[in-house]
Amino acid sequence: MKDFGFTMIKQRTIDYDQFDGRLLNEVLEMEPSFKVCLSCGGCTATCSAVDLVSFNVRRMNLLLRRGETVELESEIKKCMLCGKCMLVCPRGINIRNVIMLIKKSIPKYKTVTL
């Protein structure tokens, strides 16, 4: 296609009505402890990866809950599965299992958002 030099800017607003909750529901069903995340950031603070790469475990929760599967897939690769976050979590969430579940199921549900 001829390039006319125009670009399409991705809308920043989260349009909740377009939200695809299938991945979220599957993860919550397999790991119900994830429902009680408070977004306190304890996991991110203790994460072994954050010193090395830009990575934020707390944001996994948000990306999942807002259906941002494309970003989620690339972000989640940075996790080394060391499990330190689970030692810190005040709600006792099995974070490593959450990450594993996302990794396993994301190819099924990956949606491209404009």
């Binding site: 920043r12 909740y16 429902k35 009680v36 977004s39 707390r58 948000l62 807002r66």
Partner: protein, 340 residues
């Protein structure tokens, strides 16, 4: 026998009256409405354990009928003056009462949600307050929206009229957070299929079993909590609502189409409180609630000797805290009368 006049026949007034009668005093309660119970009459179930309000109301009513204190219904205080070490209280502009001590238990008023015009209360069809919802949560309450169908997506807004410069209220009303959690759970029980969201700034689960209920709301009842304050709601042609907020944890704006919006309204001091207080020499806090002589040790004392304070006329308070504050007021009045 000492005579004590109590202004207000809500939870605080009746509880104080009951305890002071037990202590052997002559007590008169002045109530502006035809019935006792005050704002309790607007509520159906109480947090954090869904106690039916009728249970508390029937205990109050029992106290009114069994104990020997009198209640003057549909009566208001016109003025209070000191005379020879006693108080002269003029009621409804005609009668005079003489009292040794006065207890102010005039309670609070609900924030008028119309003042937050951007949320559209009384403008759009499906915007209601937590007090409105409370009536709908009774077993025969009708939750259906425009098309006669149950709402599929419901949002609660926390801090409506509280912690808000625009409403002129800087304080936290304390009870709305847990009220939102309670009502969200009650809605979930009635509407198992609905999506339910709470938009909050902070969640302040200060009381016994509050935090546990919040956790249960997430864990067991699938209530979704989104941190961000609603900027506005707008009605669509089909009467559904488009709401906007920032999802502050993602740092991005968010919009959502919903069927029902519930505003968790806060508490305000009664409209006449400031002028009434000034006329008998009692001060008000910046919040508009009545000033106590000391926030730690004299929370039932006003700045005027012999005038005592009980309940939510001093600050936003839960039913539980009001009962305790009223009982301690009775104790303080009794001790003060004995010392005289």
């Amino acid at each position: 026998m000492k005579h004590i006049v109590i202004i207000g026949g809500g939870i605080a007034g009746i509880e104080t009256a009951s305890a002071l009668t037990d202590a052997g005093h002559w007590v008169t309660v002045i109530e502006k409405e035809a019935q006792v119970g005050g704002k309790l009459n607007n509520w159906s179930y109480l947090f954090p354990d869904f106690t039916p309000v009728d249970k508390i109301k029937s205990v109050l009513q029992e106290k009114c009928s069994e104990k020997d204190f009198s209640i003057l219904h549909q009566t208001e205080v016109s003025s209070i003056h000191r005379k020879n070490g006693k108080f002269n209280i003029e009621i409804s502009g005609e009668h005079q009462l003489e009292a040794d001590a006065v207890v102010v238990a005039t309670g609070y008023e609900l924030f008028d949600a119309r003042r937050k015009e951007e949320y559209g209360y009384k403008i759009y069809d499906h915007v209601i307050t937590s007090a409105d919802l409370e009536q709908l949560l009774l077993p025969n309450g009708d939750l259906t929206v425009a098309a006669g169908e149950n709402p599929k997506r419901i949002a609660f807004v926390h801090c409506v009229g509280s912690r808000d410069e625009k409403s002129g209220n800087h304080y936290c009303s304390k009870v709305c957070c847990i009220t939102g959690v309670k009502q969200a759970i009650e809605l979930r029980k009635r509407l198992p299929e609905a999506e339910i969201y709470c938009f909050y700034m902070d969640l302040r689960m200060y009381g016994k079993r509050f935090e546990e209920l919040y956790r249960e709301a997430q864990e067991k009842y699938d209530i979704e909590f989104i941190r961000g304050r609603l900027s506005e709601a707008s009605e669509k042609i089909d009467k559904s609502l488009l709401i906007k907020a920032e999802d502050t944890l993602s740092g991005r704006p968010l919009k959502m189409n919903i069927d029902l919006l519930v505003l968790l309204v806060g508490m305000e001091a009664g409209k006449g409180t400031a002028s009434a207080a000034a006329s008998c020499g009692i001060g008000c806090e910046d919040s508009g609630f009545l000033k106590t002589a000391d926030s730690f040790l004299k929370s039932n004392f006003s700045e005027q000797e012999g005038i005592f304070l009980a309940g939510s006329c001093t600050a936003p308070m839960s039913v539980n805290d009001t009962i305790l504050h009223a009982r301690s007021a009775a104790q303080e009045v009794n001790n003060w009368l004995l010392r005289r």
